[in-house]
Amino acid sequence: MSWREPAPGESEAGERSWRVVREAFDERIPAPRPRNWRPLVAVAVAAAILAAAFTPPGQAVLGSLRDVVKGEENAKPALFSLPSPRSRLLVNSSQGAWVVQSDGSKRLLEGYRDASWSPRGLYLIAVRGHELRALEPNGDVHWSIGRAGLDDPRWSSEGTGDERIAYLARRTLRVIGGDGRGDRALARDVTRVPPAWRPRTHVVAYVDGNGRIVVRSADSGAVQWTASVRQRPAALEWSGDGRYLLARSASSLTIFSSTGRQRLEPLAQGAAPVVDAAFRPLSHGIAFVQRAAGRSVLWFYPQLLPDATAARRVFAGAGSFEAVAWSPDARWLALTWKSADQWLFIRSAAVRKVIPVSGIEEAFGPNARIAGWCCP
């Protein structure tokens, strides 16, 4: 083994660096000479911390340090603005629903939960107590309806004024018009999984009591197709063009064609738990989060092809990532790093820039989770 040959670029890098070092030397202000070993001590401490991290137990310690103390360095202390202009965030927390404008200003809709956006972000649908309420982001309530055991309302993305809202009342899936009229039961004995509307249709996907996925017209009640997956689905989402339905289970992803006849299961059996997944707007890419052994990884499938659905690692860190959301223009990813009390705004899946924001719990209260990043 020879160690004597120069490394690539060694000489040129040396010349460049010498110029930088010389300039720093010329600009330096000579200090008096009291002996001060603090820099070396700091280096030694850093080395000791790093050394402790090299062994598996030490790695766990460092991981927990990053979890609790650090997250990403140079994080902004608060959410001063959204990186995607003219967009709005909807955040559900234990305090209520927060609407965050692109300039960082935010409003608490106190006591609301399970809030989600209407198709153009003009309204919210949310639960307060035993009422389902349609309201404006400023809190003005347009209509409400009382039901027991309310959960997970979702607005259809018709966008023409003829929208529907699907929601769960105990174990019944109900549908109501966007104007608050025509409330009716669509299916009974369903699993508590938020329903998912196929974009620009009145077709809704939900999970029945046996864990099967059901795709059904909310207008006629006709079942279009059903499908079973290896693990009971925990979340459903349609791609923006309605061509694919994504089912996330505890440790698997299943992507169905719109007819349900074809499916893709890109994760092998035994994969690490999948805690969130989201279609990239305007495409069929999927970002998803896996968590195992004290670490979390944000992945991205740029394309869905039977033999070429390869995941790219976007970001990884110690502790718990909880949720991922795309900006409406698909240029940013928002990643909830719960254990670090941070959100990361990641510029594209190629990570051209990361904007970390800390102090999430202080700003939004416990259990803050991005529920939607909405349209201008």
Partner: protein, 178 residues
């Protein structure tokens, strides 16, 4: 190459008194091994340049406080290797590009990389901490005891990492690398 411990002390003393030529002698004496060490740990020329350069800048900032009785090399190499490890670990935690891009970057390095490709690519397969101890031992020629001091590790840990790292290297390179 010149550079006895006496030369080094003289260069540091001269630099502390403001001599740019002494600082340049110190820089040119230590740059190749500092850069090479960083490169062999991080396998990224731009990052290696940043790491080695930043270590020298740290030296300039600390020049007035530096104890001339101590050798400069270990002080510099400790910074370089620790920063290189840190950088590698950070890259492992936060992929700045996809795996495919990394592969293409590595492939692009080959034509101008005079290091035996088997060594460079085999080293890249090791963990940063294994790379670091091997580079400190075989490029910078520190003893295991000195490496333990530089990295703040027990000597036994250094020895086991060396042994394990070299075993892995030997498997990768398919020839005796010791």
């Amino acid at each position: 190459m010149a550079g006895s411990h006496g030369d080094e002390r003289a260069w540091i003393r001269g630099a502390q008194r403001g001599s740019e030529s002494d600082l340049e002698s110190l820089f040119r004496h230590h740059w190749p091994r500092a850069y090479r060490a960083a490169y062999l740990v991080v396998h990224d020329a731009a990052a290696a340049e940043d790491i080695a350069q930043e270590a020298f800048l740290a030296a300039v900032r600390s020049l007035d406080r530096f104890d001339r009785r101590r050798p400069f090399g270990p002080w510099l190499h400790r910074i370089v290797v620790n920063r290189a490890i840190d950088w590698s670990r950070a890259r492992a935690l936060r992929r700045e590009v996809g795996e495919e891009a990394l592969v293409s970057v590595a492939a692009g390095d080959r034509p101008e990389n005079p290091h035996p490709q088997t060594l460079a690519s085999a080293l890249a397969e090791l963990s940063p901490e294994h790379r670091a101890v091997i580079v400190l031992r075989h490029l910078l020629e520190y003893t295991p005891g000195e490496i333990a001091g530089l990295l703040g590790l027990p000597r036994g840990t250094v020895n086991s990492r060396l042994r394990r790292g070299l075993d892995e290297l030997a498997q990768q390179v398919e020839e005796d690398v010791r």
